[in-house]
């Protein structure tokens, strides 16, 4: 059975979903981030907790998901295929269910070569489509990948990711279709900075029958500065930032770039709400967590009722 999480309910009622992302700390000081989490309570449908993002070590996604749950926030527990084999993935998933965590996002993860332990052994035992299929089977049939029955029947709301800004969109749509065929209940995308490009992709996704079957939540992010925008564009996987965004940031003195970044983000949220098939936005943190409550408020997403 699909878990009737707040995120699932919002989407199934056709309301515009709002999710955001928190990146657990490199260390055990969770205080600052949890204080931001407190400000997000009741303001978002769910909070993604990423799993060693960009292949950099962070406090466990599973543990931080539970910390959010304890504070009354609904987590989306992210699982990257990079670091865990099928034993660890299944074991963590059952653990998540036992802790009351029901939204799960399945993704490949950046390659270790891109992160802070490039000497580490990659895992990639399963790919994200295979894992989505496995989570669905655990949920719907109560069996592990090996066919063995598990005790109890965990409920999950299963997510996958998509990058709308790939050169070969047809090829990447096949992959997305596979994720959906495998059992993805919702899709979150990489951050959108190019509305026109995203619109083209959305049209293709609709034509492929993807958007009808599975709600697509478009990613957004508030750029802090020109320097950060340039860094993300050059160095971080999945950030497609068009020249005109850089020009806009460049036109402002450094002290005003952060508020310009926030402006751009709010404009993009507005534009995304007008695009057919977009069922929500997912606000990525990109080191700008403290801005999340303000973005949500100024985007007019409050009050949030489910």
């Amino acid at each position: 059975m699909i878990a009737e999480t707040r995120l699932q309910q919002t989407l199934s009622k056709g309301q515009f979903a709002v999710t955001c992302e928190l990146t657990p700390p490199r260390g055990i000081d969770t205080g600052g981030l949890l204080a931001i989490a407190d400000q997000l309570k009741g303001r978002v449908d769910a909070v993604n907790v990423n799993d060693n993002p960009n292949a950099n070590v962070r406090l466990s996604s599973l543990v931080f998901s539970r910390l959010l749950l304890d504070r009354g926030l609904e987590p989306v527990f992210e699982q990257a295929m990079r670091d865990r084999n099928r034993l660890a993935l299944q074991s963590d998933l059952l653990g998540a269910a036992a802790l009351g965590i029901q939204n799960v996002l399945c993704l490949s993860g950046d390659h270790p070569a891109k992160g802070d332990h490039p000497q580490g052994h990659k895992v990639f035992d399963l790919d994200s489509s295979q894992w989505i299929e496995a989570v669905k089977r655990i949920r719907d049939e109560g069996v592990l990948l090996n066919g063995k029955k598990i005790s109890g029947r965990p409920k999950f709301f299963i997510g996958g990711v998509a990058n709308p800004f790939m050169k070969n969109q047809d090829l990447h749509l096949i992959r997305l279709q596979n994720k959906i065929a495998a059992g993805a209940d919702f899709i979150q995308t990489q951050p959108v900075f190019d509305i026109e490009g995203f619109g083209h992709w959305m049209t293709k996704a609709e034509e492929a029958g993807v958007a009808d079957r599975t709600p697509i939540i478009a990613g957004v992010a508030a750029l802090k500065s020109l320097r950060m925008a340039e860094y993300l564009r050059e160095r971080v996987t999945g950030f497609h930032i068009p020249e005109e965004i850089l020009t806009r940031l460049k036109s402002k003195p450094e002290a005003e770039q952060s508020s310009e970044g926030l402006h751009i983000c709010l404009e993009q949220i507005k534009a995304l709400q007008q695009i057919k098939g977009v069922k929500g936005v997912h606000i990525l943190s990109i080191g700008n967590e403290e801005k999340l409550p303000e973005i949500i408020e100024r985007a007019g997403f409050l009050p949030r009722l489910v």
Partner: protein
């Protein structure tokens, strides 16, 4: 073939620093074809070691020999005579790492050092450039992907399409490496078999790969 490359001379000099009289053994198999450990490379590398040690005022005798193959025990036994005759203190093997291991197993009290870093199974892209094509996963399925292997040639071993990390069709991990999924796509488009990509390929069985432990292939009909 197995593609290997020579270890740096400094590393080899450090390995044999305490010896005065060694044998360098090449291999006429794969490593000759990929210009890493054939007769010619043995000649060049042994000369480099001799020269370096002479310049240090600590001369090293490096005799040369190249076996037909170092991955066959029969050829390894050919070393017995020269080893006994010349009392070498150690051997540097210029083969893939099967070579030094076979020598170590055969001559139990003889120190043996690898002269090459064994890379991968692959082919010659063009003269001087070799590329990896096979990870020896133990269950070939390239026909599902237009004849190309994502298990080896996708950095994330993906079976159900490309990751979101490539840029302009190049791999997330190496910007000089085209994403294999682009090639799979073009090939399957040409073959008219793109629909095959639209079914989810289940979890791979890694137990038949190195993950299941060192492997052995036994042909009963040949073992009599």
């Amino acid at each position: 073939m197995i593609i290997a490359e020579r270890k740096p001379v400094q590393e080899l000099l450090a390995m044999v620093a305490t010896f005065k009289n060694i044998l360098m053994v090449g291999c006429k198999g794969c490593v000759t074809v990929c210009n890493a450990g054939g007769k010619k490379e043995v000649a060049i590398l042994s000369a480099a070691l001799r020269l370096a040690r002479r310049n240090q005022g600590n001369p090293l005798t490096v005799d040369e020999m190249t076996l037909d193959r170092q991955c066959e025990p029969e050829f390894i036994t050919w070393l017995e005579e020269p080893l006994n005759k010349n009392h070498y203190e150690a051997v540097i093997s210029l083969a893939c790492s099967v070579g030094p291991q076979y020598i170590a197993q055969t001559f139990t009290d003889l120190p043996v050092f690898p002269g090459l870093n064994t890379g991968f199974m692959g082919g010659t892209a063009r003269h001087g450039i070799w590329e990896e094509y096979c990870a020896g996963c133990g269950h070939c399925g390239v026909h599902h992907f237009g004849g190309l292997c994502p298990v080896t040639r996708c950095a994330k071993n993906l079976s159900n399409g490309p990751c979101g990390g490539s840029e302009e069709g190049m791999c997330e991990v190496n910007k000089d490496q085209p994403c294999i999924w682009e090639k799979i796509y073009v090939r399957m488009q040409t073959l008219g078999t793109l629909d095959l990509l639209k079914t989810v390929r289940g979890a791979k069985d890694w137990s038949v790969s190195l993950s299941g432990g060192p492997r052995k292939i036994i042909r009963e009909d040949l073992t009599v």
